[in-house]
Symmetry: C2
Subunit: 320 residues, 2 copies
């Protein structure tokens, strides 16, 4: 008989999960008490939280439990590095139905743990509850190691806009899966398991990035957040955006526009930042520039090749 959450029970699951959690030296009190205690030698803690819900953020027939774990950790860790910080720890809330195989929860946990271990991140606590649909909440922590946080509000006219990491791959993977296909495998894998360019967040901060965020809503939407917060206009040069071959293949097969994947696809968790022209670090690609707003292009606007983009700009929750 397959063991399920109902037969394993809350405390059994916690015990099984806790055994395999990555735990670094900064964990003063780990899982098993009312709360964890984490050393914060910098005196400042960077904090972000995300909620993933079955059917909305993942589908069991598209993604394995392991993939969901990797993705849940990755999207939070990407938010930490987008502040220029080094990720240090996670806590996880998990809800699932009583008839869910216990193996599913353990594989999810393994995915979370493996993504965390990529960055020597500790998993310091969590909660498990019963729910009809699977729910995963992750709260991630990071250290600025003495640096200032890189906010969305610091972009200045004259800065260049640069990206690190993939754009549009996860969106192309979603387009493929949504039509019932499983290939090209590279884009499907990108949808299932993002690969944020973690090291580039702290590197950009050290290089003097004036603003930064991760691309989770889509390049235009997320640059819009920077443009609004910084009260500037941002122009993207489409020629500077490489359209990788798999995205071209998906676009050709589905009748979509490959550039749309790149401009509006979220969930690859690339990083986009602004720098003074001399500061752009190796590994970053310049894709645009920052200017002052004016009467015809007010501050907060993002343009593509100088013109307002008229397509969809990214997904928003609650609206379909």
């Amino acid at each position: 008989m397959t063991e399920t959450l109902g037969s394993t029970g809350e405390f059994g699951l916690i015990e099984a999960v806790t055994r395999s959690l990555p735990r670094g030296e900064d964990v003063l009190v780990g899982p098993g008490d009312d709360a964890a205690v984490l050393a914060v030698p910098d005196g400042r803690m960077v904090i972000t939280t995300d909620l993933l819900v079955e059917g909305r953020h993942f589908r069991q027939d598209w993604s394995s439990a392991y993939d969901v774990g990797r993705k849940a950790a990755a999207q939070n860790l990407a938010d930490i590095v987008a502040m220029g910080a080094r990720p240090t720890a996670l806590v996880v809330g998990f809800g699932g139905p009583a008839d869910l195989p216990t193996a599913w929860a353990l594989e999810l946990n393994q995915g979370l743990a493996d993504e965390a271990e990529l960055l020597d991140v500790s998993i310091v606590g969590g909660d498990t509850v019963q729910s009809d649909k699977i729910v995963v909440s992750v709260t991630a922590f990071g250290s600025l190691d003495g640096r200032s946080p890189v906010l969305r509000s610091g972009a200045r006219p004259g800065d260049e806009v640069a990206v690190a990491g993939r754009l549009g791959w996860a969106e192309a993977g979603y387009a493929v899966l949504n039509r019932g296909f499983r290939s090209p495998r590279t884009v499907v894998d990108a949808h299932r398991r993002p690969q944020p360019p973690y090291a580039e967040g702290p590197r950009a901060a050290l290089a003097g990035a004036s603003s930064m965020c991760d691309v989770s809503d889509g390049l235009i939407a997320d640059l819009g957040h920077i443009a609004v917060a910084s009260e500037v206009v941002i122009d993207i040069r489409s020629q500077a955006l490489a359209i990788p071959e798999p995205l071209q293949a998906v676009a050709a097969a589905t009748g979509a526009d490959a550039l749309t994947f790149v401009l509006t696809g979220g969930e690859d968790h690339a990083l986009v930042a602004t720098f003074e022209p001399a500061d752009v670090p190796d590994g970053w690609t310049v894709i645009g520039s920052v200017a002052e707003g004016n009467e015809s292009l007010p501050a907060g606007t993002v343009t593509v090749d100088g013109a307002t983009y008229t397509g969809a700009t990214g997904h928003a929750h609650f609206r379909s």
Copy 2:
């Protein structure tokens, strides 16, 4: 037309919610960026997380959105004070269906904010997503202000066991609601909106508490966590447990045993701690004692009046 999450949209909801969040001076970067930044002058951060799911932790016909917010904050803040720490901040994840009235989400937020403001706690960030059932995840943070954390593992033979706060009230309220009634109002209110004795956590730490936890699974179950972690035997003296009049009334009306509410009811988030006899602070009631394990009563055992308790010991998630 009633405004719903679908018509307000994710960004509209975030904007409405963010306006009214409590924010203290320790919030270096608040909501609106990839992550928040919180000052942690103590150099250590106490962290706990809980997930609340509609139908499992609350019902819309039993609790208002405001009550759910108060309760979600309270149960996390209780975990922080149970470490002897002072709560400082919260982050919140919220999922709800597109047809949920926006007012529901705003009232939930007001409940979270009001409970947080009781303790000058800041709400520093969050996430909103779409989900079929309402889900609320809260991660809470606290400062030890130079003190050592009070763990579950420090109880010593010879210590006295003492409690602060209510026991059994929320469970009696649940029993009433579960039978379709709405009174006695005091116990129904206790189920909807716990009142943890927040100030008693740091006070117990300062008084030298050797172990502490909050009563969320039930007194016997939670003392069991202390007994196991501390490798001791704990005896509860039932005569020392006051049975308040409303619990007696509910027991009489429902055919239940009022002492069972007190021994096994969770969710009031009372605090239970162990102290050397001379250290028990004002405001705490001695209800038992700590002894070494022996052959007939091995370490990890909790007894009531010297005998093993044979009733149910508290609720466990996943098992029904």
